[in-house]
Amino acid sequence: MKLPRKYYLVVGILIVLIDVATCLIGRSLVPPGKYLLRPEPWKTRGDPSSQSFLVEFMDYQCPFCQHIHPILKKLMKEYPKAKLIYKHYPIDSIHKRAVKAAEAAECAGDQGKFLEYHDLLFAKSDEWMKVEYGHYIYNFYHYARDLGLDEAAFKACLDSGAKEKIVFENKAEGQARYVNMVPTLLINGTRVITTTDENNFRKVFNELFHN
């Protein structure tokens, strides 16, 4: 026995409704924050109220990240409405010191000086990257002292490895967004740019933050 043709459309609609329900249930089961690009205000440079923003996935040992760092800082000054969020993306397979450097910046962030420490790490990269392996950690302590941080608290934070989780959570945020190299910048979290050229950055800043 066959069903009358008049039920054909009803079955189609039923399938679509089941599809929609499956998606809604599936979405409700996704752990909250799994794909979230966390704002992390302590790692944000520029105008926090700006609707448009750039996210930079970076590694403190990456020479191209060092190259673009002053370019981005300069553009941030030129465009007062600009907003840049830093995210860690240490290529730990080849950059053995990058994870600890990122942790150090996070520890400085606990004392409200992430951006200052971040700048210092890039400014003094020749120092801490060239010092004997294992000794660079002392450079990180010195930088904390130079910035006037509570050295004991900084040391306790860095030695405990408590910030490793946040560093790799940042990296996972990048991996979920097809980031596979550094530096990678995301425009408003949805468009990837991998340039290192100042003129290209200027075009992006003009597009996003022009008054």
Binding site: Y7, G12, R27, N180
Partner: protein, 166 residues
């Protein structure tokens, strides 16, 4: 030679229906999986994937990222269940051809993408070339299924057949 051709025809006659059934279910499931994984993640992640191909203006990416996964998911499920196979074949073939164009141009322009972004944030990672080959196979297989009059274990079989006079 004739004997061989006859033998192949006999074997094909025997196995045709189960093979076509498996093909239909696999293709349907592939589209359902592809659409579902994209729908389970925020739209912005698929937008990144679309923008990586540098083919459409970035302002269009949010719309495409909203609509395309639903087309894959809904018509994939129609195909999987055997509901209106002829009608659901058309958008699926169009999608596969569209993907071929997008992937093909990224190969020609040497955009250097190492993940096609076809299956969202899952462990399934296809290179552009692998994905291009898969889409070529999909176009051929969906066309083959489209040309068939009868499909095993399809929802369509539960309904009275359409008469020429409606």
């Amino acid at each position: 030679m004739n004997y061989f051709i006859t033998k192949v025809k006999v074997i094909w006659g025997l196995w045709k229906r189960p093979i076509l059934f498996l093909l239909r279910v696999s293709i349907g499931a592939l589209f359902v999986f592809s659409g579902y994984t994209k729908l389970m993640q925020p739209k912005e992640i698929f937008e990144i994937s679309i923008n990586m191909y540098q083919l459409i203006p970035a302002s269009l990416a949010p719309f495409v990222a909203s609509v395309l996964p639903w087309i894959e998911f809904v018509f994939g499920s129609f195909f999987l269940l055997g509901y209106n196979i002829e009608m659901s074949s058309i958008p699926l073939v169009c999608l596969a051809v569209l993907f071929q164009i997008v992937l093909g141009q990224s190969l020609l322009r040497q955009l250097g993408l190492d993940d096609c972004g076809c299956y969202g944030h899952t462990n399934v990672h296809l290179t552009i070339y692998q994905s291009f080959c898969l889409d070529t196979a999909l176009v051929l297989l969906i066309t083959l299924l489209f040309s068939e009059d009868h499909h095993a274990l399809a929802l369509d079989n539960l309904f009275e057949t359409k008469t020429k006079h409606g």
